[in-house]
Symmetry: C2
Subunit: 837 residues, 2 copies
């Protein structure tokens, strides 16, 4: 659980509100880790954490290339058959950012220097990180330092950096040392080896290595261009990085260079006169592969640089701006008259596109490319929390993300064999497609990953109409995941009622593991099975040749498809008549209830203070599980059920995971807890900006950033689309006057605007779109403004569901559990039973 967001918490004299950028107007080294993550620039392929150009004091130096990883043997303290064996960790790519400044031979080190003026800005429209500093040197000279950093959205392999130095008072000899630095294996400035140990997964942090990760394979320096090439020792990946430089100045200067296995330097020595600026532009290219010769990557780097330098920096910046202008046209969610909210919304959407735009057939890591948390692994975050935004605003990015899964299919098939199921079982956490979770109870047991992927495919196909992708590629995933469910589940009959059951799985909530008939898993598996049936029918109609090929390739029979339909139709959906709610799993309601209110804050999050065996035997939830099902499968639950389920689960949900808040917000809004919905929303919105979970240092919470879009569009905008139809039932927050967002549906872009008394729709690109509002159908056409009057914003319930009320209900009901209260025993709090017979 994080802190509650409080608008007072952010120092607005430092972080000035700006609707189109993240600004920092005072230097402060005390939260380096936090600001490093916030000021990341990335295109989803290259990611540069917001470390300073000088590349010195830092929390974590991070220069990443998506998917560039090392592998290692997982040593289980006690091994068993089928436990994951190949650990994977994103590594620090050779760092091409450093541009070090020396004036009168004194290095500029931000946290040691006397800084008279300081501004940093990450601009959401230019896609550039800029910094302006006025420095008084130890000798008392004034130096203006302006720098900028950009990772190109239009040219995947390209980054651009500029540093302009001007002596404001006095002349001085200046040196600018532009470097490429292997930090993964090398020593940093201060003689400390960055990574020296390498045992085990700290689930939230990067592993490090005791061996040399980057084996030198190439180095070359000609003129102002330096190139380094490596092979990654165990994973066999290859990487090349090249930097070329231009200098513009009215001062005299000379250049020199050195290169070694772990460092290339291009040094500019300038006789700087007062008032005469010097600008050095650094063009950087990264290329990586799963095993192509380094020489080939070196050649590619050369071509990237040649082209970029022919274009020039201004053209590259122009392209970046144009790309982002288009992005914002497709993506911008506007909250009228709420500049602080607006800034935070755009910050999050900007970070999501930075994490995904050019990832292409690499996945989207849980932290994007903003930190090494979670080892750079891909989880379900992409499919469930990030893709909805991409599907409706940047469908080609969504498609690429899904193709990543298609390309992992063979590994998923092999994993299915290890787990004794048919079809394919996707890994819970991975970079290269192999399972890398070393704790199966909260890892491999989350079989729902299969359904999450198919759910995302369905969403993409339905929103875009890209049935070709389905017919030619994604159908294999849809079918193989359906097969997994068909073999994992089994039929069980009772009193003539036969249902299809799924045992021994973990749902999204990792505070209860390896259970039977987890509601979330079952309704998602049901979706998966039914979608396999529907998808085959759809492609048979629209792409008969591809469909026939798929049936042959996958050995599909009509009998098998009929079985999936039966399994979906008769899926076990646990329901408890007493409480009138869906139990999270078959035994969930038999458990004791954890008294969250009685658990001191210094014992949160629970997973860091209680043994799993303790947590697992209580009713206590790490993150939305049944509540997430209510949203993702909103078609499968009545309004009454949603209210009852939400009221039961909300009070026992810790929010120890950042995945939770956005989802709780959406469902709270739907059932009528509108203030609560808003609270959940702002807490999710400022999770990283205000470092509410105190671990933004390790990287931004990308799923949390992604689901904010859903909280806006599906929560407050009230959009549901699980059946393919766009259905609105808005819940505009009391304190907002207007919320608007564009949706691109089958190539037509419509901007929807929710006000207190209407929903407006206007086609921005394309022809027409159909949708419903509170059950009534509408169509908006190009050139029209469609206005649907709204009678209020849904039900409004006071307060929030109350745990003590829950306890009351139980005692009146007289049927079930006593509530247990953790009390202090020995040195840690103890879940304890208070009532006795």
């Amino acid at each position: 659980m994080g802190r509650e967001w409080n608008p007072e918490d952010i120092d607005r004299t430092r972080f000035t509100v700006d609707e189109w950028s993240l600004r920092e107007d005072r230097f402060d080294e005390r939260d380096f880790g936090h600001t490093e993550a916030l000021f990341t620039v990335s295109n989803g392929y290259i990611g540069f954490r917001g470390n300073y150009e000088e590349g010195r004091s830092n929390h974590e130096q991070g220069s990443y290339v998506s998917g560039l990883h090392e592998t290692w043997q997982i040593h289980h303290a006690e091994d068993a058959f089928g436990f994951a064996t190949v650990g994977q960790s994103m590594v620090n790519a050779p760092d091409a950012r450093p541009m070090r400044l020396y004036v009168d031979d004194e290095p500029f080190i931000p946290d040691k220097a006397e800084i008279l003026d300081y501004h940093r800005r990450l601009d959401f429209r230019s896609g550039e990180l800029t910094r302006e500093i006025l420095w008084r040197t130890p000798e008392g000279k004034l130096v203006s330092i302006q720098s900028s950093r950009l990772v190109s959205f239009t040219q995947r392999h390209l980054a651009l950096m500029r540093l302009t130095v001007t002596m404001v008072e006095g002349d001085a000899p200046i040196a600018l040392s532009c470097q490429i630095l292997n930090r993964q294996d090398g020593e940093d400035e201060f003689g400390v080896v960055q990574h020296s140990l390498g045992k085990g997964i700290e689930p939230r942090k990067a592993a490090a290595f005791s061996h040399r990760v980057f084996e030198p394979r190439y180095r070359d320096q000609q003129g102002l261009r330096s190139v380094l090439g490596y092979r990654v020792a165990k994973s066999g990946m290859t990487v090349a990085v090249a930097a070329d430089h231009r200098i513009e100045t009215g001062n005299e200067y000379q250049t020199s260079g050195t290169i070694s296995d772990d460092r290339a330097r291009n040094v500019f020595e300038i006789e700087a006169r007062e008032g005469v600026p010097t600008t050095v532009t650094k063009y950087v290219a990264y290329h990586t592969s799963n095993g192509y010769p380094v020489q080939e990557l070196v050649d590619r780097c050369g071509r990237t640089l040649d082209r970029a330098m022919a274009d020039g920096a201004e053209e590259i910046r122009r392209q970046q701006r144009a790309w982002l202008d288009e992005f914002w046209e497709r993506s911008d969610v506007r909250v009228a008259d709420q500049p602080e909210i607006q800034q935070a919304v755009r910050f999050n959407l900007f970070q999501v596109i930075q994490a995904s735009a050019r990832a292409e057939q690499r996945g989207i890591p849980a932290k994007g490319l903003t930190g090494s948390g979670y080892n750079g692994h891909y989880f379900w975050d992409g499919e469930i929390f990030i893709l909805p935004f991409l599907v409706y605003s940047n469908p080609e990015v969504a498609r690429n993300a899904l193709r990543t899964r298609v390309q992992m299919l063979d590994q998923a098939r092999a994993r299915a064999v290890e787990l004794s199921v048919d079809g394919a079982l996707f890994p819970w956490r991975t970079i290269n497609g192999e399972e890398s979770s070393a704790y199966y109870a909260a890892g491999t047991a989350q079989y729902h990953i299969d359904a999450d992927i198919t759910y995302a495919i369905a969403k993409y196909v339905r929103a875009t109409g890209d049935t070709e992708f389905l017919a030619r590629e994604a159908i294999d995933v849809v079918v193989e995941t359906a097969r997994m469910w068909a073999s994992l589940g089994f039929w069980r009959g009772f009193n003539g009622r036969r249902t299809f059951n799924i045992h021994g799985v973990t749902g999204p909530d990792e505070y209860t593991t390896v259970v039977n008939n987890n509601l979330f898993t079952n309704v998602m598996a049901q979706f998966n099975l039914q979608y396999a049936v529907d998808a085959l029918a759809e492609i048979a109609l629209k792409h008969p040749d591809d469909a026939a090929l798929a049936r042959t390739r996958l050995h599909i029979t009509d009998d098998e498809v009929e079985r999936w339909a039966q399994q979906a139709a008769h899926m076990e959906i646990p329901f408890n008549e007493h409480f009138g709610i869906h139990p999270q799993d078959e035994q969930f309601l038999d458990r004791e209830v954890w008294d969250l209110a009685g658990t001191p804050l210094d014992k949160r999050p629970l997973l860091l203070h209680f043994h799993p065996l303790v947590i697992y035997r209580f009713q206590v939830i790490k993150q939305a599980d049944t509540v997430l099902a209510l949203y993702l499968r909103s078609d499968a639950f009545t309004a009454h059920e949603k209210l009852a389920d939400f009221e039961y689960y909300d009070p026992i949900t810790t929010g120890d995971s950042t995945l939770s808040g956005g989802v709780q917000s959406i469902v709270a809004a739907e059932v009528g807890y509108q203030e609560l919905a808003y609270d959940y929303f702002v807490n999710a919105l400022f999770t990283d900006l205000d470092n509410l979970h105190r671990n933004t240092d390790d990287g931004l919470h990308m799923a949390c950033a992604g689901v904010l879009w859903s909280a806006l569009v599906s929560g407050f905008g009230g959009l549901r689309d699980v059946t393919g139809e766009l259905a609105f039932d808005p819940r505009l927050p009391e304190r907002w006057s207007e919320l608007s967002f564009p949706l691109t549906v089958q190539s037509t872009r419509v901007r929807f605007t929710v006000t207190r008394d209407a929903l407006r729709a206007e086609v921005e690109v394309g022809d027409r779109v159909r949708f419903t509002v509170r059950g009534r159908p509408y169509e908006v056409r190009a050139g029209q403004l469609c206005v649907v009057p709204l009678d209020g914003q849904g039900p409004v319930l006071p307060g929030e569901p109350d745990i003590s009320q829950l306890g009351e209900l139980r005692r009146e009901d007289g049927t079930l559990l006593t509530t247990s209260i953790p009390v202090q025993t020995g040195s840690i709090p103890l879940p304890h039973t208070v009532a006795e017979a």
Copy 2:
């Protein structure tokens, strides 16, 4: 699952049947690992695996001192709060066994030598391992080699070895090199470092280390005496080993010696003439401690050797024989006219006393001191499988074993705090008292260890009447374990019926983990809670002063004791009305049934071929769980329930653990499957002798050896004693004419003899004993022969419970699961559903 025993499997031309020894009459190096374990000599403190004197070719060199261990940091691939952190591994004590022979400078190496005659014998009455060899040297000379090895039962720290060499044909110079050798860190003969890696627990094997384990602290050689002393690097234990020598010969000889940190040598060079024997006797002393200075242990070794050499070898052997004579009087179980069975029974009982006699306040490892399997850890094996034999035959050994637990109480209290429970939680596997299980689902989750310990205490106290031990020491364990249950469990009400429930535990069956209301756990916890109530009452009556002290020391209130009574009285005992059986846990019967008959033998044991997630979601049992409860809590089940439960569980029990067979045999005998009971018995009986589980190389299965006594006395003899009363209902196997066994009850020893038509009882030592036979009370007094006529041997059911019949029953019943059959998919068999809706 092991092989089925087949009497043809043991080559009786090599392993001659002998009722009082294990004999090997032909040399064969192909099964070194197996015979090394079988021919172990040990007193429970010092253990010498049956490696040859020459100390060369071997499967595993093993010279152990009980509890001598090294610790290491457990690295979890993915860590969590409360996971065990301190790994513990029994280490190879400096090896004082080697006595190497050279004739004409040629070494005698058994597996390379031309051996003309060979006999080896482990004598159960002399307690000596002897070997006789006739060797033709490469030069063609004949040499007779006779050796013996003994670890003293009467002098805990003493071992004795003798080697007699006689030139049968020809004279020759002979060298005898008597050594103490640090094998743990040193290099062996062939230049191979014994232990070089040290990562993780292979749950069944010893860990090894990359660091030096034995830090040299002392070495000294004076005359024929050598002494080495060490500190164990991480655990901080200390050890000293000393050897002194005597030579008797008519030949001329000279002596020399060398000593270094890792090896001491005393060498005898003899001018051997034909027909003139040379005997060297080696006296060896081991002393270890948890941290006393090495010098003190060195001094102790000196005193041990001085005394032993003053006694002389013959006296030591005489004492050994006398000790064993008494042991057999107290312990010998006799099966008339079944020499092969008789030999195997005595072998197993002999190995149990070898593992336990002088362990004293060290525990009894799962493999005794016969191999490094299971890292030398203590589990519940001692309390549940081994102690019943010791309690009724060697109560002082049982008492010492229980005191080991009393001494672990502080660590168990600390572990309880980590697991958020009150009282004490004993470790699932340990040497030093700290939890060393690195896989909690099949480790720490076995909370039943607490009840197992208290159950063993109750058995000991009731059988011996040693309430003083209870009042002064064991009461703390009884109370603190009761408290653990009281806090782990919780009250739950349904329709006015409130019961005490225990969630989130693993029972003995490790093929189903972390379940709710495991029947075994609940009935054992019930016993634990009730015994705490009863024990406090008993000591208050018999030892009021001690009782008052205990109540103060442990802060016991009447309210608390009353709560235990309530919790025990209202313990949840799951029962399924449909099947008329007790489900192993609350959800056990909801699971699919694993088709064992359809699982190929090369996929057994299941744990080596299926991911835990696969195994756990099926009804399939590694080892007796509910069936064990039927035996241990025989007072809590009706005959009808026992039959129904046994018939349900037996067919789905794999026997993948050697703990299972003996228990299945006992309950099979009780309910009437008498042929099956016999089959289980002989398979358990020959588990190690015939290496049925193919892993006897790693050490003997001590719990299996121990429970054989229960299979004989409680299974065939029909003894039940859970309430403290000796109640017999014999089940003599069809093919046996007579079974007899002594029981020592409150210092009176009675020999019971079961024949086809009577049970006889005769007091051998002491006054009188009461018992019942099939419900009727008897008393036997000194000098009387009490004969109770028997009308048959209980019910006789044909065949055995049948899995397919189980399937039939289900289909007729029409209520529950389809049976699932593992079939081949990909490269491994797949548990798969056959029936569809």
